[in-house]
């Protein structure tokens, strides 16, 4: 817990680095910050083309449906991909100044969260175009964000620490994430999962639970399944406890091995 307390103490650094990250991402490109919006738009176009035209999904307003699940997935997958190398790629910082290293993975997760939040108006606009206006149940978003944030922090703390010592991890993860993406009901509705397995799949995979919850509040406009969210929260907390101990047991060695 002292790990998270330090993170809070260094929140000024956290904000400064996150702002830097967001501003710096597209520095040197002609369109600059506009890419933050353009990227998910283009991606949406690609997925909409592939899945609604070629795969002929039987979901009404499929593009919107997919966008609802895809954006938080991007937050997750980019956080995990970027967060894993956030320590191993920052030799300059780690070997020259003293600061709590958990700030670095946290910065990746925060800046990816900002990207998600910035793309939300796009998503809502698309919903309006499809005739799906947000209802009050959408106000549950912060709860789901908090839980997904918890889960992501737990995973990334562990992977970022381990990747300093085992660089294989970043390569393994890239492929795992590609597989994981198709296990999560993003491009297909959860109802496409055979009923026998559906609850188990969603209860065991927090990302599945979160994705269904986003779809519930934004697409179906109903309450999410709170039992699934509770299971995801439980898994996240357990993971976080384990991840903190992995991180803490290794942190003294980061500066030597990075």
């Amino acid at each position: 817990m002292s790990n998270l307390r330090e993170l809070f103490q260094y929140r000024a650094l956290l904000w400064a680095l996150t702002a830097r990250e967001l501003k710096g991402r597209y520095r040197g490109s002609l369109l600059g910050f506009f890419w933050t919006l353009l990227n998910p738009l283009l991606l949406m176009g690609v997925y909409a083309l592939v899945f609604s035209v070629f795969m002929n999904q039987q979901v009404p307003h499929y593009t919107y449906f997919m966008f609802v699940g895809l954006l938080p997935w991007l937050w997750f997958t980019n956080s995990l991909g970027g967060g894993t190398v956030s320590l191993s790629g920052k030799r300059d910082l780690l070997t020259r100044v003293k600061f709590p290293p958990q700030v670095l993975p946290a910065v990746t997760i925060l800046s990816e969260l900002c990207n998600y939040l910035l793309a939300l108006p796009l998503m809502i606009g698309l919903g309006l175009l499809s005739g799906i206006a947000p209802r009050p149940v959408a106000l549950l978003l912060p709860l789901i964000l908090l839980l997904q944030g918890l889960f992501t922090v737990a995973l990334v703390l562990a992977t970022s620490a381990l990747n300093v010592f085992y660089r294989d991890l970043q390569h393994v993860l890239g492929n795992l994430l590609a597989l994981w993406f198709f296990l999560v009901p993003v491009v297909y509705p959860a109802t496409a999962i055979p009923e026998r397995y559906r609850t188990a799949v969603l209860a065991l995979d927090p990302m599945g639970a979160f994705t269904s919850a986003y779809q519930a509040i934004f697409y179906y406009r109903t309450l999410p399944d709170f039992r699934l969210l509770a299971a995801a929260a439980g898994i996240s907390v357990a993971l976080l406890v384990g991840a903190l101990s992995v991180f803490e047991s290794r942190r003294d060695e980061f500066a030597e091995f990075v």
Binding site: A16, R20, D92, L93, R96, F99, F165, D252
Partner: protein, 284 residues
């Protein structure tokens, strides 16, 4: 007794050797293969860099650290700066510490000088508002007014060090640790940075300088430490420490480059590498 700014007691530091050659690197794969084959790796070879170092620097003093390459000076500095944690022993620092280690202070190459000032200042424990107050004097001191909004990757090494020095000193730490920096910059900047360090000393701040230059130690330091093969070979008055250091170097040179063994004053011979496994047993 005056308050201590830096206190090291019984500090040792060893590193696991990262051998990138065949059989040296640990990966998931190699660990998995070892595990499947039921093979246990010999414990990693460790490199003992510092042994049992005791050091007390009273607040307001300036300490010079001398020693040959590989004597452990930089490791000592990183321990004092809190970047490394000692393998055994304790390091205590009182007050805010800033360190100028290697080239630069942890700047991000893609970000402008101004952004790096803020990030560095925050890492050194200042608030954004405090840095707002200081940023202009930092830019002026570094004489980078025209370049401050350019990414620091475009800076020359002189500009880079000027910025690092300006940030670290303007942020006003209680303890300032500097690795071979006084020679950085042209004469003009050297004069200005020396003025600033004198000001630092006058205001009762603690300085640690690591250098190869005996003149620097004589000019600046109240006390000196000579590190030899990770041990404190001599400490005390700068003049006495330097004399011992110089005569040992001279003796070593007389004996030829091959006889770079321990010195008369130094502790008895001891292998620098502690090899826990018999030679040649490293698995592939």
């Amino acid at each position: 007794m005056t308050e201590l700014a830096i206190e090291l007691s019984g500090v040792s530091k060893s590193f696991r050797r990262t051998n990138v050659g065949p059989g040296g690197h640990t990966t998931f794969k190699s660990q998995l293969v070892d595990w499947v084959k039921g093979r246990r790796r010999p414990p990693a070879r460790r490199l003992q860099v510092l042994r049992d170092v005791d050091l007390s620097v009273p607040a307001g003093a300036t300490l010079g650290v001398v020693g040959q390459n590989g004597s452990g000076k930089s490791t000592l500095l990183k321990l004092v700066a809190g970047i490394y944690r000692p393998t055994s022993g304790q390091v205590r620092i009182s007050g805010r510490l800033a360190a100028l280690i290697e080239l630069g202070a942890g700047f991000h190459p893609e970000f402008s000088g101004r952004e790096n000032i803020y990030i560095n200042g925050i890492i050194l424990g200042r608030s954004r508002r405090e840095i707002d107050q200081l940023v202009d004097s930092i830019i002026d001191f570094a004489e980078l007014r025209d370049f401050i909004d350019e990414p620091v990757r475009t800076y020359s090494s002189g500009m880079y060090m000027r910025l690092a020095f300006a940030v670290a000193t303007t942020i006003d730490p209680d303890v300032l640790v500097i690795d071979e920096i006084l020679s950085v910059g042209d004469e003009h900047f050297q004069r200005r940075s020396q003025d600033r360090m004198e000001d630092f000393q006058r205001r009762g701040k603690t300085l640690v300088l690591v250098t190869h230059d005996a003149g620097t130690v004589e000019k600046w330091c109240d006390m000196a430490v000579w590190l030899d093969q990770g041990r404190v070979a001599s400490r005390g008055e700068p003049a006495a420490v330097l004399a011992a250091y110089r005569s040992a170097i001279a003796a070593r040179e007389r004996n030829g480059p091959l006889a770079a063994g321990p010195l008369e004053i130094a502790p008895p011979p001891e292998a620098a590498f502690e090899d826990a496994a018999p030679e040649g047993s490293t698995s592939s």
